[in-house]
């Protein structure tokens, strides 16, 4: 009687151990077959969720692998998740992309939108401030001693390139009022804070500026554009270097081609392009970001 009892007990224990073990192996097997994609959190989450749901299903269909979107809510966390291998493919801004690439050997820029090749930032000012429209980069000097705000500290178009152009014109961060600029946290916040007058001037991505203009959230009686920066490379898809090994030979190439083939004939692809506010994706490469890397080093965002 007692023996039987013991036997069932041992059976139970071994079953539970086996099932726990099983759970782990299932987890790791599954993990290897999933393409984990992510994006820096530069847009509202609802938009990103919608966008990446469609994109995941389209990629999954075209590449015949499982695709999972992992929402990332912090710029630095996106870079870190790429470094720790939690993400295979990430939609990065130029600066975060360079930071991520330098921290993960072998990773590769594969594609970008048509507008990312010639991206601009716009400097804006409140109408009540004494700031005038400028035509020459050197006139950025008029921003000295003004209350000025950037966007997020990791943003390429909201901080890195604008700071580079400001420095070029001889304006240092300590030259702003109170000895420091503000960091509003996002492009939308920059626009709202300059429009309200809390900051006399600020800088944001031209894309967001135009979008707010279309949606009527920008009040032309309160805020205006003072200067548009020269163009630079911005957003891009960065892929891990080990995807060919993880999935199959030639996978990275295939992945790139899927992006390049996106067009408006397919309903799903049309939706994706619209949500990305792009006409098409074009090929891109690491070298396109050499200048960004140089600027980032100079400003201290890359060591």
């Amino acid at each position: 009687m007692y023996k039987k009892h013991l036997a069932t007990k041992i059976k139970k224990i071994s079953f539970s151990f086996l099932s726990i073990f099983n759970l782990f192996t299932i987890g790791s097997l599954k993990a290897d077959e999933i393409l984990r994609i992510g994006a820096i959190p530069d847009q509202n989450p609802e938009h990103l969720n919608r966008l990446y749901k469609i994109l995941s299903s389209e990629l999954s269909e075209q590449l015949n692998v499982q695709v999972r979107y992992k929402p990332v809510t912090n710029y630095a966390a996106a870079v870190t998740s790429f470094r720790t291998g939690n993400l295979d493919l990430v939609w990065f801004g130029a600066l975060t992309g360079v930071q991520a690439r330098l921290q993960s050997k072998g990773s590769k820029v594969i594609a970008q939108r048509d507008i990312d090749e010639k991206f601009h930032s716009v400097f804006i000012a409140n109408k009540k401030s004494s700031i005038q429209k400028i035509n020459n980069i050197n006139d950025l000097k008029t921003l000295k001693n003004k209350r000025f705000t950037f966007g997020s500290e990791s943003s390429t178009s909201g901080r890195l390139m604008p700071q580079y152009f400001l420095n070029k014109a001889g304006v240092q961060l300590k030259d702003f009022k109170a000895g420091r600029p503000g960091f509003s946290g996002s492009h939308d916040a920059t626009l709202m804070l300059v429009q309200s007058g809390s900051y006399e001037a600020g800088v944001l991505s031209e894309e967001v500026w135009k979008r707010n203009l279309e949606r009527g959230r920008m009040d032309p009686s309160k805020v205006f554009l003072i200067w548009k920066t020269p163009s630079y490379h911005n957003y891009h898809w960065l892929a891990q270097g080990n995807l060919d090994k993880k999935f199959k030979k030639g996978f990275t190439k295939e992945l790139t081609n899927v992006f390049l083939r996106f067009n408006e004939k397919s309903k799903k692809q049309k939706q994706i392009l619209e949500l990305f506010s792009a006409k098409k994706f074009i090929i891109s490469k690491n070298e396109n970001y050499n200048k960004i890397e140089k600027v980032a080093r100079k400003i201290g965002k890359v060591k």
């Binding site: 630095a76 966390a77 870190t80 998740s81 939308d188 916040a189 429009q195 309200s196 965002k301």
Partner: protein, 516 residues
Amino acid sequence: MKLIKPVSTLLTLIPSIAYIPILIEIIKGFHIGGLNIIFLFISSAIKPSFNQELVKSAWEGLQITISTALTSWVISMLIGIILGVLSTDLFWKSIPKFSYLGKFIKYSLAIPRSIHEVVWGLLFIQILGLNIWVAIISIVIPYSALTARVISEQLDSFDIQPLIAIKQTGSNIMSSFITILLPKLIPIISTYGSYRFECAIRGVTLLGIFGLGGIGTELYLTLKSFEFNEMWTCLWMLWLVIILLEKFIRFLRSYFSEDISLKNSFLISISIFALSLSLGISWLYNLNFELFAPLRFSYLDLPSFVEIRNGFNTLPLLKLIITTIIITVFASGIAIGTPPLLLVLFPGKFPLKLQNLIWIFFRLIPPPLTTILILFFTNPTISVAALSLGITHMGVMGRLLTDSILNQEKSIYRAIKNNGSSKQSATLYGILAPQSNSYLAYGAYRSDVILKETAIIGAVGGVGLGWQLQESLSSFDWAQVMIITATFSLLTISGEFLFSTSQNYWLKNSTNNFSS
């Protein structure tokens, strides 16, 4: 008739002097350009969005926040209790040979608790990537150390004669230790524990603002894109859930206050912990978190000596420290001074109950959100940072004050009022006076918390150590991150020493003690 000494009563009002410089600066920078946004924010409160997608994702965010808080709360309580007992002098009395170990544990715990949970979170993200354990670990580390401190201080304040007596009878030291300690430990755990749970919810919400998921993330993202109706949906839901939880905890605690045997209360505590832990973990698991997937560590290169030296040279440390201290002082002034001030200005039972409810709300709005809102009608200055930090903690202080007043004897108040004094002065002497010492003691502890929390403020104004930490983290400059974290830690450790000295002073003179 000898009236109660008014000195400390007036002292509770003095911190509100901080309003003068802050209001001057805010009014000086006041402009109406952002008033329409503020109006939009306020009017959205009565028409939150009922978009199904949004409510669904806010609900999921709330679940993430609460289950994460629950899990990390249990773990931190368990670790905290063990470490707390281990760092009492009392415990090591039984093994005097190793009593230096107790001192060692006690003092080394000052380091983990000197760093804010959000800073731990930002650091752990770098090592573990985005993972639910980052949130849990970042809450557990400082909270266990805090719990340990409270428990060891409380235990050490008890009379140890019985223990010595039992020891002399020659009975087993460990078992006698347990028989004496346990009855004292359980009431501390029940009161302090429920307070800690609420802190955990606040902590996880804040972590969310910095990108670790849950309702905090929803809140931040809705604000970032200026969808106020959506933001209010999240805020109202958070508020409701917190009030319900509070009621539930009170209900649970009423069981404890009834006479139950030591053995039963011990069993109840154990089962509450066990239940909460299993509930927290299975809940998280159900929310699709890969709780049991192996953690992937990504080690960082330690900065070299030269890099650290360069970091020291490039960082304006002194200036950063001074700004941080200024923010702390003003924020503490607002947090401590406002509730008593309102109490005197608006006396009476109904205003008191109303204030009690309003304070819960203030306590829930995370400071980074307040900062952006305040910025819409004034220029960016240090005052904005101080005000937004002060507002949240004003909620905590106010809630505490109104709670204990609602439970307090009204006899003194009535006696004074029957003497013909005005409602205001009756409130001042009859209601505020009996509370003031313990209130100030708690205020000293709050200032300590505020100092730690400066770590998360200042981004928008670009001020203080907190902002610099964000900047260095986003540049992946480990030397600078190390220097700033160490500076912060040193600053809070000295702050803790200073505040606990003044806290002890107020407690010594206190008649009722609610801060434990």
